[in-house]
Amino acid sequence: MYLLKWLNDLGRYFLLLGRTFRKPESRSMYYKAFISDLDLLGLNSLALVTVISVFVGAVVTIQTAFNLDDPLVPDYYVAIATRESIILEFSPTIVSLILAGKVGSNIASTLGSMRVSEQIDALEVMGVNPASYLIAPKVLALVFFNPILIIISMFLGVLGGYFASMGGVMTVSDYVYGLTVDFVPYHITYALIKSFVFAFLIVTISAYYGFFVKGGAIEVGINSTKAVVSSSVAIIVSNYMLTNLLLV
């Protein structure tokens, strides 16, 4: 029974994607929506990403230094570990999980409210494809902006580690030297590929739960929670699959 419901949801999700990526009725209206979503979903997340990245970068550095406190391990290894943790996992995955909470609930509750207040029906009666007009600009906005957020997060995470090194866990020169040792540029590509995929999952899964809300305010809340949980699970699972595919 549960499997049937899951398959039904999956089928409806792909049908919604089919409706979402259709030719827009008016390029200028979609462009306006794209710019507005870029601000709402992307730029508005910048402050949160900044604070989290700086502090997590600093904490990762301190914890790594604490665990590698061995005379046989050079101090600059701490910087290597910090860099790799941030580039490979923290920035693309953990930041995306945090965005799944912030952006995902926003999308699901906005679309859910529009559904229960008949605004989506109003678009449909006008002849507008509501899935395309409401979801496609959001997908484009986050797929475009999430990699930028992730790059900023990487830089700020490493900067946080730098501040931690200034606090005395290691010398600043060792930290800066460690950042350059054995650097693999492909890891950045890997992180960016993940950020594209995660952005797509966050928006489309959240939009699915918002778009098909039935009922009133309580159902909007329930579906917002489902959106965050489902997009987080999708990120975790796809993270494993992408890592297997791209790194192994």
Partner: protein, 250 residues
């Protein structure tokens, strides 16, 4: 003109519409009346294609809704305007943007032409000077008028209204009713209004269809409804003390 032939609609095992036939005439205010839960809203939403019907057909001036492809259906929808029960105004857009939304999507009008059209539509519903306000800043009656202005912005051939008076005081309700009737006659629109408000029925009912339990139980005009002996209509129309008194004095 809209012709409805024997339409059925069910949700799961529950059949809501059980073979309704109806005709809605151009230039007339066509009313669908009935008790709450009788299937009025499902009927109206089936008419505009928000619900796919299970059986029967809906014909818009020789165009069968079910036989239209996506492109043709979209074209037909640009000829429709709809006023929803809760207004369904886009709350992130200003009043002017709400009224010009469909024009921005589908027409080649310039910004100034769209603004002129918004001016005209808002003037027509007696709402000047609200262009830059947001829906949440207006009263219920004003929001209803904006919803009507948005519905007529594309010069529709068909206008649908779902409970346009719900939540309005009697005086404002009459203003909205008269506005809908004036617009219908002025622009020669086929207007279909869902209501259970007897004041509306008497005020603007050119052609009335009474629905009970998903079937058409009666049809006639605003005058005929007061004189009919149909027991279901009598039960519905004269359910309030006011109308019972009116009947006693007739």
């Amino acid at each position: 003109m809209i012709e409805v032939n024997f339409i059925h609609k069910a949700f799961g095992d529950k059949e809501i519409l059980k073979g309704i036939d109806a005709t809605f005439f151009q230039g007339k205010t066509n009313l669908i009346i009935g008790q709450s839960g009788s299937g009025k809203t499902v009927f109206l939403k089936s008419l505009v294609g928000l619900h796919e019907i299970d059986q029967g057909e809906i014909i818009y001036d020789d165009r069968a809704l079910g036989a239209l492809n996506n492109r043709e259906r979209k074209a037909l929808r640009t000829e429709m305007g709809m006023v929803f029960q809760g207004n369904a105004l886009f709350d992130s857009l200003t009043i002017e943007e709400n009224v010009t939304f469909a024009l921005s999507m589908f027409s080649d009008m310039s910004l100034s032409e769209r603004r002129d059209r918004a001016d005209f539509c808002l003037q027509r519903v007696n709402l000047p000077n609200v262009h830059k306000q947001f829906p949440s800043e207006l009263s219920g009656g004003m929001q209803k008028r904006v919803a009507i202005a948005r519905a007529i912005s594309m010069n529709p051939k068909y206008l649908f209204c779902d409970e346009p008076n719900s939540g309005l005081d009697p005086k404002t309700a009459i203003v909205i009713d008269r506005l809908l009737q004036e617009i219908t006659q002025e622009f020669d629109i086929t207007t279909v209004i869902n209501t259970h408000d007897m004041n509306s029925v008497i005020e603007i009912g050119d052609h009335i269809i009474f629905i009970k339990d998903g079937t058409k139980a009666w049809q006639g005009t605003g005058e005929q409804i007061l004189n009919t002996d149909n027991p279901e209509i009598v039960d519905f129309v004269y359910s309030s003390r006011l109308f019972q008194k009116i009947r006693e004095n007739m």
